[in-house]
Symmetry: none
Subunit: 304 residues, 2 copies
Amino acid sequence: MAKTTKVSATHESSGLIVHISGLLPSLSPAEQRVGRLVVADPADAARRTITDLATAAETSEATVIRFCRSVGMEGYPQLRIRLAAEAARRVEPPDARVVGGDIPPGADLAQIIATIAFNDARAVEETAEQLDPAVCEQVVDAINGAGRVDIYGAAASGFVASDFQQKLHRIGRTAFAWPDVHLALTSAALLGKGDVAIGISHSGTTSDVVEVLQQARARGATTVALTNFPRSPITEVADFVLTTAARETTYRSGAMASRLAQLTVVDCLFVGVAARNRTKARRALEVTAEAVQTHRVGGARRSR
Amino acid sequence: MAKTTKVSATHESSGLIVHISGLLPSLSPAEQRVGRLVVADPADAARRTITDLATAAETSEATVIRFCRSVGMEGYPQLRIRLAAEAARRVEPPDARVVGGDIPPGADLAQIIATIAFNDARAVEETAEQLDPAVCEQVVDAINGAGRVDIYGAAASGFVASDFQQKLHRIGRTAFAWPDVHLALTSAALLGKGDVAIGISHSGTTSDVVEVLQQARARGATTVALTNFPRSPITEVADFVLTTAARETTYRSGAMASRLAQLTVVDCLFVGVAARNRTKARRALEVTAEAVQTHRVGGARRSR
DNA sequence: GCCACGGATGAAACTTACTTTCAGAGAGGT
DNA sequence: ACCTCTCTGAAAGTAAGTTTCATCCGTGGC
């Protein structure tokens, strides 16, 4: 029963901790307790025996084993070793920087800046680490051969969708971003085989986006999901799943690190598509750049 | 050969492999066989069970345990996780990260991903490093005390503007983002003392944005510029200048790293404003999060 | 409101891995 | 030749990890 039928963007080779935190919401409560312990202090978890860890998570050994399987490990010893390895590789963050956690109430701006930058940068790095080039390749191919590309996203993810749309458009690809559900549904209904629909949702649970993607799929379009959680509902209606690796800080409804991670993936896909047809893409970029030239002031004397 | 039963204190943290190879000659033949296997491939040894390793070394489990004790470990599991950790640390990724520069024409997706992520992450980090907390503080104060906040940006910077607008709105601040020059000008004309106008432009030369910011300033509003170039035209019409530190790669018209850097600054300002009024901001976020709750599918729970 | 179903969970049975014990083999030393 | 001391693996013993299964609880159908 340990089969992953879906093409997923998670490397089995690295970023186990990231992988686990992405899976966290899709796990059962007891397994989540185990997962949180593991993510919080991998090195410590590696030192514990299964009984020890089970007790710490207030559950049974059986659940710990289930957790191991859920995250793709064969058994507890395997998990232990991987955790030890990951923890060793991990660079300890500079003291003042609060990792993934809360920003302390009394923090001054300098601290806030350091924390945000640290988390944002890490989200970008970890996302890239666990991105599967093979899946990206397939998505790039699909976009490249598509007659039309539809991109859906709500709220913060909507800006990401628009950004992607704009980028594709600038290199001469027909792409649309629909921030409105009704328009999106209408558009999705007109998609067909060979077209591509991309749904962006950090949580993977935004029903509007899921619904539209499903519609697109029913019409025969190739569907792509971009989400932080590899087992969230959106992945069920997607042919290809690309995952981000952001652990949101406080104000998580504010979607900070997650959208940077999404944009990084967008960049990768964009450059991938552009690279498929270098000269044409470059020319298109030059032409569009020229077009806005008259809207620029002075010669942009760039120092810095 | 007087075998030392007591092993001199080893560093808990590192150099186990070196330590072992140093002890090698002083070990008994059977233990040496074990030791050589371990030194030759620590990662592989960590993967084996004690029986497995014993067989590979053509000896018994008992000898492996003796070996563990000889090198100062409590037992085999302890040795295993230490080996895994050391092996992981040892394999420092030499990396094919193309620093700053262009993406080579023949690059495959993996290279592209690594390059983009590296540059994106660096832009975020370097931006945070050179951000002046004092200036941020003043900007945060201005926004905090503002009756109304207008945010201007074109193209890619327009999405950043909208993102910021949305964030401020979610914590109960009156903010507007104007992607259209005419609407923006109209809005700017209605600003007054105490209001804040923020202009976002990577190059700092987007005439639409500069113009609008100038208008806002003429009306008495406090003006803020967010740009990558500290001496660009936009800084001349701004009371406060916040700079990003993105060095764009190819396809720079595609604005990749720059918008991540901009978003990082937006995050900092946003959290800064939210931190000024913690409880109120948090409540607002909760309320807004609740509002979209019905637009979510399932609890992201899924077993398979 | 009741029942059927299915997933989540821990107790206990079970298996495998690890550790200890012990006796035999072999290398000096006397 | 005999002692003795270390090295060694077989086997017994213990702890760790894994599987099975009965129970519980929430969900959705009638």
